[in-house]
C-alpha cells in the first residue's frame, strides 16, 4: 500500500454512498480509510482506489448533560478530545495516539479508531471503544445508507450492528457518523509504581490492584522500566483517576498493601499516554509489532515465549492480559506469536509490519469453521460485491 493510490475524499455522506455504489456496479474494490494513519495494520488491501473519509468532518451533536457526542467519521480525534475537554469530559476508552508507532504526523480520525476498535489503558476498567459506540450511520457495500443504535445510552432494539461494524476494519460498511457515550473526566490522577522481581510477580500485583475496592483504572507492567520516568527494572503500575481527595487516599491504601512509590499527576499523565501509545515498547523502525490478548495471568507466559523465540521487546497492559511485542518482521517470529497466543487460548493481531509479511501470514487467528462460514455470509449480506476493504482482515474476505 502506498499513498499513490487514486483517492477520493467526499465531504458528504451522499458522496460516500455514490462512490461505493459506483464501485459496486463496477465491481472495483475500494480501500477505506480516514487519514490513512493505520495502513500498516493487518493485511494490505488489494484495491486500485481509495475512499477517504478525511473530508467528512465535524461534531454534529454534543449534549454534555446527556453524556452523548456524535461526529462525522472523518473528524480528527484531537478535535473531539478538545471539544469534550471544554466540558470536563473525555473519551471513556482512552483511544491511543498511534501516530508515532505508525510513523505518521497526521491525527487518527474517529471513524478509524472505531473501525479498528482501539482502546487504551482504561479499557481494563471502563470498557473498550466498542462498548461506548451508541449509534452509527454507515454505507453498506451497495452504496446504501443505514443506521444502527441511536443517540441514547441504553438501547437493545434489534440486532446490534454497531458492535458488528466496530472493529470490522471497514470490511462490512463505511462508517459515516458515530455517536459515543462520553463521561466526565476525573479531575485528578495518580499512580502507584511497584518494582517487581519478574513478570509473574508483576501480574500478581496488578491482579491484587484490580481485585481491590479502589477502582483502579490502569494496570500495566513495564518489563524494562521507563528511564524517561525514572523507573527501572520490571515495574507494575496501578492508576487511580478520581477526585483528588480520593486519589490520595486510594493510592495510600494500595501502597500499604502492595508497597512501591506514588507518582504524582505530572508524571502520571505522560506515563499513561506512553503506555497507551506503546511508546514504552520502544519498537525499532524495522520491527514488526504484535498485540496478543490473553487472560491476564497468561501474560507472563506469552512474554517469556516471545522473549525466548526472538528476543521480543515487551509491554504489558490491561492487567497483564494485553501483551505488546516488537521483534523481527519475519514469518518465523510471527509463527512464534501465533503459537504463544494459541497455547494460552488467546488471540493475536499483527499490528504493524512491512507489507510482504502482512500479505504472507494470517494477521488474525483463524475462526472455527462454522463461524467462518457465518462470517462469509454476513460479509455477503453487507457487501455482496466484496468492494469494501477486501482482504483487510482475512484473505478472500
Amino acid at each position: 500500500m502506498s499513498a499513490a493510490l487514486d483517492t477520493e475524499a467526499p465531504d458528504t455522506e451522499a458522496g460516500v454512498a455514490a462512490i461505493v455504489a459506483a464501485a459496486a456496479a463496477a465491481r472495483e474494490p475500494l480501500s477505506i480509510e480516514g487519514n490513512g494513519t493505520k495502513r500498516a495494520l493487518l493485511r494490505p488491501v488489494q484495491a486500485a482506489r481509495a475512499l477517504s473519509l478525511r473530508n467528512l468532518t465535524g461534531i454534529t451533536l454534543h449534549r454534555p448533560q446527556e453524556l452523548i457526542l456524535s461526529a462525522w467519521a472523518g473528524t480528527p480525534l484531537p478535535e473531539i478530545e478538545a471539544a469534550l475537554a471544554g466540558h470536563g469530559q473525555h473519551l471513556i476508552a482512552e483511544p491511543p495516539d498511534l501516530s508515532a508507532l505508525f510513523g505518521t504526523d497526521r491525527p487518527a480520525t474517529l471513524g478509524g479508531v472505531v473501525a479498528t476498535n482501539l482502546s487504551g489503558p482504561r479499557r481494563i476498567a471502563w470498557g473498550a471503544m466498542r462498548d461506548h459506540v451508541m449509534g452509527i450511520r454507515a454505507v453498506d457495500g451497495r452504496g446504501e445508507v443505514f443506521r444502527s443504535g441511536g443517540r441514547v445510552l441504553k438501547n437493545v432494539t434489534g440486532l446490534d450492528l454497531c458492535k458488528l461494524l466496530t472493529g470490522s476494519h471497514g470490511t462490512l460498511g463505511v462508517l459515516t457518523e458515530i455517536t459515543l457515550k462520553v463521561l466526565p473526566a476525573p479531575p485528578a490522577v495518580g499512580t502507584l509504581a511497584v518494582p517487581v522481581r519478574d513478570l509473574a510477580a508483576g501480574v500478581a500485583v496488578l491482579s491484587a490492584g484490580l481485585g481491590s475496592p479502589y477502582g483502579v483504572s490502569g494496570a500495566a507492567l513495564l518489563p524494562a522500566g521507563a528511564a524517561d520516568f525514572g523507573l527501572s527494572g520490571p515495574v507494575a503500575l496501578l492508576r487511580i483517576e478520581e477526585f483528588s481527595e480520593f486519589v490520595a487516599y486510594r493510592l495510600r491504601r494500595l501502597r500499604e498493601e502492595l508497597g512501591g512509590t506514588v507518582l504524582d499527576e505530572a508524571t502520571s499523565r505522560p506515563l499513561w499516554r506512553a503506555v497507551g501509545d506503546a511508546g514504552l515498547l520502544r519498537a525499532a523502525a524495522a520491527d514488526a509489532v504484535w498485540r496478543v490478548s490473553v487472560q491476564p495471568t497468561a501474560g507472563p507466559t506469552v512474554a517469556a515465549a516471545l522473549r525466548q523465540a526472538f528476543g521480543a521487546r515487551l509491554l504489558l497492559d490491561w492487567g497483564g492480559g494485553l501483551v505488546w511485542a516488537a521483534g523481527p518482521a519475519t514469518p518465523k517470529a510471527h509463527a512464534a506469536v501465533m503459537a504463544a497466543a494459541a497455547a494460552s487460548r488467546g488471540g493475536f493481531t499483527l499490528f504493524r509490519a512491512p507489507e510482504p509479511l502482512r500479505a504472507a501470514v494470517a494477521v488474525l487467528p483463524e475462526e472455527p469453521a462454522p463461524l467462518a462460514a457465518i462470517g462469509r455470509r454476513v460479509k455477503a449480506a453487507l457487501d455482496p460485491q466484496g468492494v469494501l476493504n477486501p482482504g483487510r482482515m482475512r484473505a478472500g474476505l
Binding site: R63, V156, L164, T166, S293, L364, V378, M393
Partner: protein, 485 residues
Amino acid sequence: MIRLPDPKPEVLARREEIVAALHAILPGDGVISEPLRLKPYETDGLSAYRQPPLAVVLPNTTEQVAALLRYCHGMGIRVVPRGAGTSLSGGALPLADAVVLGLMRMNRILEVDYANRLAVVEAGVTNLGITKYVEADGFFYAPDPSSQLACMIGGNVSMNSGGAHCLKYGVTANNLLGLKLVTIEGEVFEIGGRHLDAAGLDWLGLLTGSEGQLAVVTEVTVRILRGPEGARAMLAAFRSNEIAGQAVDAIIGSGIIPVALEFMDRPAIHACEAFAHAGYPLDAEAMLIIEVEGSVAEQDLLLGKLKEICTRFDPISLRVAQTAEESVAIWKGRKGAFGAVGRISPDYLCMDGTIPTGELPSVLRRIGEMSEQYGLQVANIFHAGDGNLHPLIMFDANDPASFAKAEQFGADILTLCVEVGGCLTGEHGVGVEKRDLMGVQFTAKELDLQRAVKSAFDPDWLLNPAKVFPLEGNPAFAPTLPRAA
C-alpha cells in the same frame, strides 16, 4: 393483539413421532409433552400472551442441546430458547409448532477465577446466583435487572439485560468475555474467550441482545468485579418533573457519576409508599434516589456535593442515608415498585423505552395527556442517568377492551420515545411485544440488513421466529419452508 404465525401443519401432524424422537435424544425426564405439564411454559413475563408449545426439552449438557437442535433443524421444527421465562417482551413466548428449549437445568457454575476476575457459568445459572457465589470474597457480577433473583444469565445475554446500576457498570454486553454457542445446525463453538477484545469481528457484541435469533447460548464467561468499599443512597424530592430533570442535568454536569440515579413520578411515589412504607414524600411531584460508592469519607464528600446541588433546585425534602440500613430503606420502595403497582391495579404493562434525558419533562407531560385520553393510569420509573423510561400502564386483563387500550397506549409511548430521539427498548428487548413497532425506528433497508444477518446464522428461520422482526417479509411466516433434510 399481536399475531403469531400459523403453525406448520406437517409439524403438528407428526407430534407423536417428534416427541418420541426427543425422548430418544434426551432419556429420562427431560422431555415434557403432557398438556398439563406444558402449562408453566405457555407464557413468560408478558403473561397476557399464552401459547402452549409442541413440547419442552430440558437438556443437561451442551452436547444434548446440539443433538436436539440438529434434530429440529433436520425436521424443520421451530425452536424457542428459554431461560427462567422472565422476559417482559414475550421473548420466550412459545409457538404451537415449536419445541421450547429450556436451559434451566444447565445451572452449574463451572469455574471462578479471581486472579483473572472471571467466572464460567452455564446458561441456566441465575443472575444473582453468580453474585451470591462470589460475594463472600468481595466480588459481584454487575448487571442487576429487577428480576435478578430468577432470571438466568443465558437470558441476560440474549436480551442484553441492564439494571439500575448500568450508568457506571454498563449492561450485559459490557460485562462478558466469551460464549459457548450452538447453532441451529447443531454446531458447537466458542466466541470471545477469557481475554478482552478477541481479535476479529465482534461476534460477542452481535450475539449479545440478539434475542435468541442467531444461536443458543449454553455457557457464558462473565467478568466479575471487586465491589467498592461501600455504598450509600440519598433521596431528593422536588416540586415538578421539570425541576427534578434540571437537578439530574446538574448532577451529571458536576462530574459525579452516581452508581444509580433513579427517578420516580408522583403516581410511582404514591404506589410505592402505600406498598412499602419507605417514608417517601407524598407531596412531591418527582423524586430521585441517588447512590454513590466509596469509603465512608468518600461517600460523605459525594453526598455532600449532591446535597448542595439538589438544594439549588428548591427541594421539598432531602434525606441522606447515614448508614447502610438507611440506604436499604430508601431503596425499599423503588425495589418493590412492580409489586406496588400490581397491588393497586389488577394488571399492568411494563414499558421500556429510552429517551434523551433532556426530553424527560416533555415526555412525561405527553404521557400524562395520553393517560387521560385512554382513561388508564400510568406510573413512571426512570433510570435518569441513562434515559431508560419504564412507564407502568395499569389495566384490567379480564376486560379485553382495557387490554387493547393499554397496548395501544404503550405503542403510543414507544413511538413518542422514538420521535424525541430515543428508542423502542432500553433493556427488555423487542420480543413479540414491540415487534410490530420496529418500522417506527428502522427503515425497510435497515430491517432487511438485520434480517440478512439473522439468515446468515439461521437460514431457515427456525430459531425463535415471530420475534423481533415484523411478520411481513419474515421467511418464518411463509406457509411452506424448504426443509433442509
